[in-house]
């Protein structure tokens, strides 16, 4: 392996926090990169550290950069500590923990000047940097001394760096132990095995390492109190559980599978019938995504609250059924935990690249309702609210999460219990059918909102039935090829879409009085944008921010656009898909809109957003 270290990697030179300025300790404000081999159990170690720091009150975020592979390829986990509460991704890292021989040279080279390298002492230091502090860890020796069961050695070896870091950074051992215990669900044996390794490493570091670097942690207050630590996919699943999901069909795909994993964990716990222990839900692993959405539509049509969870390639397969659900007006909830495309793309890297595909999914004239959760709390909220919307609007609702939000663990406000009863929408039951003498029409707009009445199969009245079809139909759901029937139906669907504008979650705006520039964004970019706004303000650029929580947009978005000279549309994809949608929906505002789009597999950083906005203005 040849390594050139004279020239620092380009990425590391452009960043504002590149050089750690000034003397004195650096407390609760730096990033640690854990460079490990995937399949080696490092996730447990990293999760334990994140949790311990969180419980010490320190604002932290963890970003897992893992390969599309089961064992043996490089994995990085970056924990950012931010006393200011900035939780977005940040490029430079001050500390690197090197456990992977294949990437060690690069991992060491990229550490910020003034930083720290903590490494497995069997790994080579290709070129020793003058500006970096090195701490070796005798991993093999410590593992040997711990007399671990042979088959667990590799997994528990990663606990060595937990102990060493705890000692070097002053992470409270009580919190480490609590996090280990939480991780293993209180099971004494694995807790003891892992804590034994952590303690041995801690003691070794205490006896053998002389700390010369300025980095350490300190317990904090004011940020984490009352908050929880959870991944977006678990939050989404829990939201669905409290939303009364009773039917789930899915096909495995990264990064959407863990959403269904969480459903399969929580549904039996929370939704088994008290008296009989039987299930008030069904989860079916389908033969493909096409079948998954087909089953969801069949179940939604029959009156169950039905959902699926997928990612880009699965969304493609769902196209024809999505069009059917739109046109036949069947409720369905589709979670799209986005990853990079087109094609297989990078299956384990994040993106917001499905916005356009989802909004216009399927052939013919149609647009769909999209929701954009920004954090786990909102994943929970949209988890239940999506069912209310889908049943109220009798249409598929797409919840656009992404890998960063779905699979990484985030600090979140606790979930709020749904404040309103379930909205099951316009469903005529037996009594209502009797009351109106059996005279009703499935696709007749009685209320002027474009939303018509439906009945559920099994309603015991001869006039309850109707014929659901993806073919042209009149108000009575009868097959029709008449041009006027087709147009009337499409006009009503457009009217329904306008009703949707008034029902979807409102955008959230934060406006500065003297701002001339506005930022529009969606979803998991939020943390980076909050930080980027502070950077812009510090650079003298007052700015306002509107976070869209749904498509279609409503008047609030148009008004926001109208209030500013420039609107920067920030998104994590290459083509500026949200920008294009806004451009087509609000063409008169077109010249104001600027696309700030980037996609390389990583979440956007505040630095990049702020710099790009400055450059574009």
């Amino acid at each position: 392996m040849t390594v050139v270290l004279e020239k620092a990697p380009p990425e590391a030179t452009e960043r504002r926090e590149d050089v750690i300025a000034g003397p004195g300790p650096k407390i609760d404000n730096f990033s640690i990169n854990f460079a490990t081999v995937n399949g080696s159990g490092s996730q447990t170690s990293n999760g334990v550290l994140l949790r311990a720091l969180f419980k010490m009150g320190i604002p932290v975020s963890g970003k897992n950069m893992f390969p599309s592979n089961i064992q043996g390829m490089p994995t990085w986990y970056i924990i950012r500590l931010s006393e200011d509460g900035y939780l977005g991704r940040r490029d430079p890292y001050e500390i690197v923990v090197c456990m992977n021989s294949r990437t060690v040279a690069d991992d060491m080279a990229r550490v910020a000047p003034g930083g720290v390298v903590i490494y497995d002492d069997t790994l080579p230091i290709a070129a020793r940097r003058e500006d970096v502090t090195y701490y070796p860890m005798p991993v093999a020796q410590l593992v040997k001394e711990a007399k671990l069961p042979f088959e667990l050695r590799d997994y528990i070896a990663n606990m060595v760096y937990v102990g060493v870091l705890a000692q070097l950074l002053d992470i409270e051992m009580a919190e480490i132990e609590a996090a280990v215990s939480w991780n293993f669900g209180g099971k004494p044996k694995p807790i003891a095995l892992n804590m034994n390794m952590v303690r041995r490493a801690f003691q070794w570091a205490e006896a053998n390492l002389v700390k010369t670097d300025p980095f350490r942690v300190e317990r904090m207050t004011g940020f984490n109190e009352g908050k929880i630590l959870v991944d977006g996919n678990s939050a989404a699943a829990l939201g669905a559980v409290f939303g009364g999901v009773s039917f789930v069909a899915w096909y495995p795909i990264t990064p959407a599978s863990s959403l269904v994993d969480a459903l399969m964990k929580y549904l039996p716990q929370m939704r088994s019938d008290d008296a009989t222990g039987k299930a008030t839900f069904a989860v079916i692993q389908a033969e493909d995504e096409l079948a998954a959405l087909g089953m969801v539509i069949g179940a939604g049509w029959a009156g169950a609250r039905a959902m699926t969870s997928t990612s880009g390639p699965g969304l493609d397969l769902m196209g024809e059924f999505a069009g059917l659900a739109y046109f036949a007006e069947v409720p369905a909830v589709v979670w799209d935990v986005q990853r990079i495309g087109p094609s297989t793309g990078l299956p384990t890297r994040t993106s917001q690249g499905d916005i356009a595909a989802a909004y216009y999914l399927s052939h013919g004239d149609k647009r769909h309702v999209l929701l954009f959760p920004a954090d786990p709390q909102e994943c929970f909220e949209f988890g239940w609210r999506s069912f209310d919307l889908a049943e109220r609007l009798q249409t598929p609702v797409f919840v656009m999460s992404d890998l960063d939000l779905g699979m990484n663990v985030w600090i979140s406000d606790p979930f709020e219990y749904p404040p309103t009863p379930m909205d099951r929408g316009k469903v005529l039951d037996l009594e209502q059918i009797r009351e109106i003498g059996g005279s009703w029409a499935r696709y007749k707009d009685v209320n002027g909102d474009g939303i018509t009445y439906r009945t559920l199969p099994g309603t015991p009245h001869p006039a309850a039935a109707y014929f659901t079809r993806g073919t042209g139909h009149d108000e009575n759901a009868r097959y029709s090829e008449r041009p006027e029937d087709w147009e009337r139906n499409m006009n009503r669907l457009a009217c329904k879409f306008n009703t949707a504008r008034t029902l979807v979650p409102e955008p959230v705006a934060d406006e500065a009085a003297r701002a001339r520039v506005g930022i529009i964004s969606v979803g998991s970019n939020h943390t980076a944008i909050v930080e980027a706004r502070d950077l812009l303000t510090a650079a003298g650029i007052e700015n306002s921010y509107m976070r869209l929580r749904a498509l279609p947009i409503n008047d609030a978005v148009r008004d926001f656009i109208n209030r500013y000279e420039r609107i920067c549309v920030v998104e994590n994809n290459h083509d500026g898909q949200l920008y294009q949608i806004l451009l087509s929906e609000e063409p008169c505002c077109g010249e104001k809109l600027v696309s700030i789009a980037r996609c390389n597999g990583w979440p956007l950083t505040a630095d990049w957003i702020a710099e790009t906005i400055q450059r574009m203005l």
């Binding site: 929880i228 829990l238 559980v241 409290f242 009364g244 009773s246 039917f247 069909a249 929580y266 929370m270 939704r271 019938d273 009989t276 039987k278 299930a279 008030t280 839900f281 069904a282 079916i284 389908a286 033969e287 493909d288 096409l290 079948a291 998954a292 087909g294 089953m295 969801v296 539509i297 069949g298 179940a299 939604g300 049509w301 029959a302 009156g303 169950a304 609250r305 039905a306 059924f321 059917l324 036949a328 606790p414 979930f415 219990y417 749904p418 009863p421 379930m422 199969p457 099994g458 015991p460 009245h461 001869p462 309850a464 039935a465 109707y466 014929f467 659901t468 079809r469 993806g470 073919t471």
Partner: protein, 348 residues
């Protein structure tokens, strides 16, 4: 299960007090003489006879001529005409969402043997409680006469030319996917179709019924195995069925060796009159052999080809569903309590 009675006025009504006309729906728009229409008629007859409550029936279909036919029978039933080849998926969703529904899936050979073979086999594998009817004519009618995957090897069609690929056998595919009920019939044999339908309605789990249904417009040449003339000449019935409602007394003429009684999973009995004295429809290997031999001889055998002797759980049982249909569960069963959320948050 019900029988029909004659009212004082002479109109025949079934156990629900309904005239046969009550089981009709919109008039058919299929070609005159289409086998599919005769199948619709058989379904109406049997549903009426059995006193089936149409409001508890759903008719599921995909795309094609066959898939249009649910509009032409059981007008009081909800129907879902979805997308091509994907009837099994929507049927699975509906069947699970409401376990009280009787699910009738109507499909064609394009739907089941080509675009939707995967879904068909997976629905069979899951043992979705439904009646799965394939109206099999070996041709794409709605797109005007292309070969389907069940077309005969060497068959000629006016526009499509000569078919040089061997046909898929829907019954064999069903058996390979562990179907629990497999039958084949011919649309031109009303008695057999009706007796198989009766048995299929009583089956728990998936009942696959492959009905050769001649396409009078595009595939009714004498050399097609899906034509009326072929079917009439070369149909080899395996057995004859008698359906006995579960409350009826069962009498077996012990002297008659050609009969085999099969108990359906809902307790009703069917009596098979064996035309082939060696045929045992509970012997799966034999069923496959008989199908393959018939295929090689370009015959088609009809009757109950296979019914499982041992019960396999249907999808409702596999999912351990509550008795109340999921679609009818009230909010208090669907949404856990505030306390449950608080407890859960404490664990995060």
């Amino acid at each position: 299960m019900a029988t029909t009675v004659e009212t004082a006025r002479g109109a025949k009504v079934n156990a629900l007090g309904l005239d046969k006309n009550a089981y009709k729906a919109a008039p058919s728009t299929l070609c005159k003489g289409c086998g599919h229409d005769t199948i619709s008629q058989r379904i109406m007859n049997v549903a009426w006879e059995l006193g089936l409550d149409q409001t508890q029936v759903v008719k599921m279909s995909g795309i094609g001529c066959s898939s249009k036919s649910p509009a032409y029978f059981l007008g009081w039933s909800h129907a879902f005409n979805g997308v091509h080849g994907r009837m099994p998926a929507t049927a699975t969703g509906a069947a699970v969402a409401n376990r009280d529904l009787t699910v009738i899936g109507v499909s064609g050979d394009g739907d089941t043997a080509s675009i939707g073979t995967g879904q068909f086999k997976h629905a069979v594998r899951r043992n979705v409680p439904m009646l799965y009817i394939v109206e099999n004519n070996g041709v794409y009618g709605l797109t005007k006469g292309q070969f389907s995957a069940t077309a005969d090897l060497g068959q000629k069609l006016k526009y499509a030319g000569v078919n040089n690929l061997p046909p898929l056998d829907i019954c064999m595919e069903a058996l390979a996917a562990n179907a629990t009920f497999v039958a084949r019939s011919f649309a031109g044999d009303p008695r057999q179709v009706e007796s198989l339908l009766r048995a299929a309605f009583s089956h728990r789990g998936i009942a696959v019924l492959d009905i050769i249904s001649p396409c009078v417009t595009f595939n009714n040449h004498d050399d097609s195995s899906k034509s009326y003339s072929w079917g009439k000449e070369r149909e080899f019935p395996l057995n004859e069925l008698n359906f006995i409602p579960d409350y009826a007394e069962i009498t077996i003429d012990a002297a008659y060796k050609g009969e085999l009684q099969v108990e359906m999973h809902d307790g009703t009995k069917i009596m098979l009159k064996k035309l082939d004295p060696n045929y045992d429809p509970t012997d799966k290997l034999n069923a496959l052999r008989v199908l393959e031999e018939a295929r090689q001889k370009q015959q088609f055998i009809t009757g109950l080809i296979y019914v499982s002797e041992k019960e396999r759980p249907d999808l409702h049982e596999l999912l351990q569903l509550v008795d109340t249909p999921l679609a009818y569960l009230p909010e208090e069963k669907l949404r856990p309590s505030r306390e449950a959320l608080a407890e859960l948050l404490a664990t995060l």
